[in-house]
């Protein structure tokens, strides 16, 4: 039984885990801040945008079966562009992973480990990610699939459990801060689909390249549903004006859940599941950063790259000194860098690659026709 390549579910969950980690942190809150009570409409809107984007991307990728963004970069701009893409992707992924893990570690420190240093908690996460990456890439993906399933269940559970406190009237005014904020500037909320970055990377590892479309569509649908559920549970639970001040909104919603008298506060159980999510997310991130770097720099072994990547993530996580800085990085730097990398830079490369390929094909076709014509004349 060959199990080295990813099947549809495994690849889909690689994309979904990114959205889930962002949902656990403050993604729904950011959307609420941007759109107010029209957040649900905004999520549906950006989901359609993401869907349309992926369909175009799938079309553009079609002349490159089994190739990822690094390979396409090489095709478009030779080794130079390949190296630049690898560096950009590595920096982006390391930066995102570092900030996210720091944010979650701050949460853990705030709730349970008041006396612990944040970098120690980050260190535990990174050490675990390094160990599991040493065990093997495919095992990380397999475990990620199981963990994502559990997390998906818990998000539904949070939504269902908080139904008792829901106030439907909070959806009004239906257009929140206005049509412009919902549909024009609100379109920028598409950064919530940050997991799409893996759609540029998973292609060489797929069992069947024809499943790429299936993977993309299922990942976007799943991400949309869960984004919708988390935004809805937040919007209906708290006044949206109040949610803007909360640090970790989903955590706050778990604190309202009551499971009978025995478990007076069940939020610790959710924290346990979320720790898994972050461990899995971090491991997947390190795996893919290692994978593209190993390919680009033609490294013989993965281990040195894993160590370096983990160290760089630790360094990035040490940069912000307070929670305001973390919030700023999440709300602005991460948002715009995600938009740039996923929707502008990578898209442009694939588009150029597509044009180049089709142009080349056309030229070859023309040349063939001319040869046939000349030979017929002779």
């Amino acid at each position: 039984m060959k199990t080295d390549k990813l099947n549809v579910i495994e690849a889909t969950f690689v994309v979904v885990i990114v959205t889930l980690t962002h949902i656990i942190l403050n993604l729904p809150n950011s959307i609420l801040k941007q759109s107010g009570s029209s957040a649900i409409i905004n999520v549906i809107y950006i989901s359609f945008l993401a869907f349309a984007f992926f369909l175009i991307l799938n079309k553009l990728f079609s002349p490159f079966p089994g190739k990822d963004i690094v390979d396409v970069s090489e095709y478009v701009g030779g080794k130079v562009l390949k190296n630049i893409t690898t560096i950009i992707y590595s920096v982006y992924l390391i930066f995102v992973a570092g900030v996210l893990i720091l944010n979650f570690s701050e949460l853990l420190k705030l709730i349970y480990f008041h006396n612990a240093k944040t970098f120690l908690i980050v260190g535990i996460f990174l050490l675990t990610a390094v160990i599991v990456n040493k065990i093997g890439f495919k095992n990380v993906i397999k475990a990620n699939t199981l963990i994502t399933l559990v997390v998906l269940v818990t998000v539904v559970l949070i939504f269902l459990a908080s139904l008792g406190h829901v106030d439907i009237e909070r959806i009004f005014p239906i257009m929140g801060y206005g049509v412009g904020n919902t549909f024009v500037t609100g379109a920028l909320n598409i950064f919530a689909f940050g997991g799409l970055v893996f759609l540029y990377l998973v292609r060489p590892g797929l069992k069947d390249h024809n499943n790429y479309k299936k993977i993309g569509i299922s990942a976007i649908i799943l991400s949309s549903i869960y984004l919708l559920l988390s935004v809805a549970s937040l919007l209906f639970l708290f006044p949206f004006l109040a949610t803007g001040t909360e640090t970790l909104s989903v955590y706050m919603s778990t604190r309202t859940i009551e499971f009978g008298k025995f478990f007076e506060r069940s939020d610790a159980m959710f924290i346990l599941v979320w720790i898994f999510t972050f461990l899995s997310y971090l491991s997947v991130m390190i795996s893919y950063i290692t994978k593209i770097n190993k390919k680009t720099w033609k490294a013989k072994h993965s281990s040195p790259i894993i160590y370096i990547v983990a160290l760089l993530i630790l360094i990035v996580s040490l940069i912000p000194t307070n929670s305001t800085q973390i919030r700023f990085i999440e709300d602005y730097i991460y948002k715009y860098s995600a938009l740039f990398i996923i929707f502008i830079y990578s898209f442009a490369i694939v588009l150029i690659g597509y044009l180049k390929k089709t142009n080349y094909k056309m030229k070859r076709l023309k040349l063939k026709r001319r040869i046939v014509k000349v030979s017929n004349e002779q």
């Binding site: 039984m1 199990t3 099947n7 579910i9 495994e10 853990l108 349970y112 480990f113 908690i121 535990i124 675990t128 160990i131 599991v132 065990i135 093997g136 495919k138 095992n139 990380v140 397999k142 475990a143 699939t145 199981l146 963990i147 399933l149 008298k261 025995f262 478990f263 007076e264 506060r265 069940s266 939020d267 610790a268 159980m269 924290i271 346990l272 720790i275 898994f276 461990l279 899995s280 491991s283």
Partner: protein
């Protein structure tokens, strides 16, 4: 008198001032001995030889090879064979206690030594005869002593002509009798095995209520015959292999030829044939020799003493390894979920079986995590508990002088000691050890404020749940991991446990049993898989496990209950 008095004082003086030395023999093993495994030894010169035509040389060789001068149970009997009124020198070699004396006497020595019509007739053997015009034409067979002995004088069903001394030697040590005849450059390897074995009994460690009550025994052939009896199909192949260079023990690879994957069978045989070991004591040791990941504490083969369980595994398309001298057989390949299966499951309704399976899964989780969770919740996540319960835990712990981790480790280690002592003492005392250990010591420890009562409950629940894990080796893994989770829970609460579980999960994902991922069909996730953890109704188990890649994927017809369709 004076001598007596002097002798008395001399002895008193001696005993007072001289060191008493009782033992003059001061034998000690040398620190280092020469490693002879790679050197050519005298016994090695005896290997790879063939039988000589001279009987005396053969006799000398066998005496040297079997050390018959010092070996009391090696029997070499010299005698004369009567063939066609002629006498030939011969001898037999066998091991007393391994061979059947009556069989040797009645069916080897008697026909060869006694004078009777068969061996005193000295005419030609007539194959055909025709008489034409009073002229008789006879076709006769030329006399040949070896054919004659083989065809006429040895009334045995299992007999072989063997040329190599190594093969002859293997036969003798497994209970055969070797017959050497002068002038023949080969010997007769005659099957005369008969040795005392334990009779078939009930399974002691895998009892079930409804189902067969037969367990394997130590004898290889008895075990294979039980498999044959339970699985009436000519496609059942039982291939014999030898394991070990010094102790050449027999092992049998059993599989259904028309079901089991050929690559799997080849891989099992390849691994067994490529063991460079002097000996292998049991299937437990053999499993460690052939498992995919040699560093893990998790077993990668199911060992069972139940014949019906082994048979059902064979029918599924797996390979069963029977090892001589061990009442357990190995089954490969397996997944982790096989350790949570009982043979009882298929004998009862699938709903009841699934309930039991879920209970077993919960037991595994509790065995693994309960002490860790207890320590994590009471130390870091106390908000999970109701306030009243939290107060009672704190109150019960207030008089205990140890840290909670020390307290829990004391109890866990004590429990393991009691369990180990209960297992190792004679069975009559086992229950006494258990009662003394759990009831009296536990009660006394609580009263002496060494441990808190709630902890006794936690450890007791953990202990009881661990007994519902069916596999002995798997249970060991859980016991080891439990200590790790306890320490992780004490170190960082849920964070520590989550880290441990995550690494554990990744390790499980990385394991394989003969090429089959350990967590199949959940990792890699196969939604379409028909072999999930929970059982389907008996009439709906249409397919064999797809991960076994069997030659017959279907185990039942599309409509298995044809009688319902008129």
């Amino acid at each position: 008198m004076q001598k007596l008095i002097m002798g008395f004082f001399k002895n008193v003086f001696k005993s007072l001032f001289e060191d008493e030395v009782d033992n003059d023999n001061d034998f000690v093993l040398p620190d280092k001995t020469e490693d002879t495994s790679n050197k050519l030894m005298p016994e090695d010169l005896l290997k790879n030889k063939n039988v000589y035509p001279s009987l005396d040389v053969n006799l000398e060789y066998m005496n040297a090879r079997f050390n018959s001068l010092i070996n009391s149970d090696i029997k070499i009997r010299e005698f004369l064979i009567h063939v066609r009124n002629k006498q030939y020198k011969a001898f037999i070699v066998y091991i007393d206690g391994m061979s059947d004396n009556d069989s040797i006497n009645d069916f080897i020595l008697k026909p060869l030594m006694m004078r009777n019509n068969a061996n005193t007739y000295d005419g030609d053997e007539i194959i055909s005869q025709a008489i034409t015009n009073n002229i008789s034409v006879r076709k006769v067979k030329k006399f040949n002593i070896n054919d004659y002995i083989f065809d006429c004088l040895l009334p045995q069903n299992d007999i072989e002509k063997v040329n190599s001394f190594d093969t002859i030697s293997d036969g003798i040590v497994s209970g055969n009798c070797a017959l050497f005849v002068d002038t023949l450059d080969y010997a007769f390897d005659i099957s005369t095995k008969k040795y005392e074995t334990r009779s078939i009994s009930e399974p002691k460690n895998e009892p079930i209520i409804r189902g067969s009550q037969e367990a394997f025994v130590e004898n290889l052939r008895t075990n294979t015959s039980m498999l044959r009896r339970n699985l009436a199909n000519e496609n059942l192949v039982i291939e014999n292999l030898t394991i070990g260079k010094v102790d050449k023990n027999k092992c049998a690879v059993c599989y259904l030829k028309n079901v089991a994957n050929s690559d799997l069978v080849a891989e099992v045989k390849y691994r067994l044939n490529n063991l460079d070991v002097d000996y292998c004591s049991s299937v437990g040791e053999l499993e460690q020799f052939i498992k995919d990941d040699i560093t893990t504490t998790l077993p990668e083969a199911v060992s069972t003493e139940r014949v019906d369980r082994a048979t059902s595994y064979l029918l599924q398309g797996r390979v069963v390894i029977v090892y001589n001298g061990c009442p357990y057989v190995l089954v490969v390949p397996i997944t982790i979920f096989d350790f949570l299966k009982s043979q009882e499951d298929i004998n009862i309704n699938h709903v009841a079986a699934n309930l039991l399976k879920i209970i077993r899964a919960i037991s595994v989780v509790l065995t693994l995590l309960l002490p860790g969770f207890y320590i994590a919740i009471t130390t870091y996540h106390s908000e999970l508990l109701p306030t009243d319960l939290l107060f009672s835990i704190v109150a019960s712990r207030s008089s205990v002088p140890f840290m909670i981790i020390v307290e829990i480790l004391i109890m866990e280690v004590s429990f393991e000691i009691i369990r180990e002592a209960g297992l190792r003492v004679p069975s009559n005392l086992g229950s006494t050890v258990g009662i003394v250990g759990t009831l009296i010591l536990g009660q006394a420890a609580v009263e002496a404020n060494i441990v808190s009562p709630i902890l006794v409950i936690i450890v007791a629940i953990t202990g009881i749940t661990s007994f519902s894990v069916l596999d002995f080796s798997f249970s060991f893994h859980l016991r080891i991991a439990r200590f790790v989770y306890t320490i992780l829970g004490a170190t960082a609460g849920f964070l520590g446990i989550a880290v441990g579980l995550f690494i554990h999960l990744i390790i499980l994902c990385s394991l394989k049993s003969f090429g089959v991922p350990y967590l199949t069909p959940y990792a890699p996730l196969n939604v379409k898989s028909k072999s999930k953890y929970l059982l389907k109704p008996a009439w709906k188990r249409e397919f064999r496990d797809e991960w076994l890649a069997t030659k017959r994927p279907r185990a039942q017809g599309g409509i298995s209950l044809k009688w319902r369709k008129k």
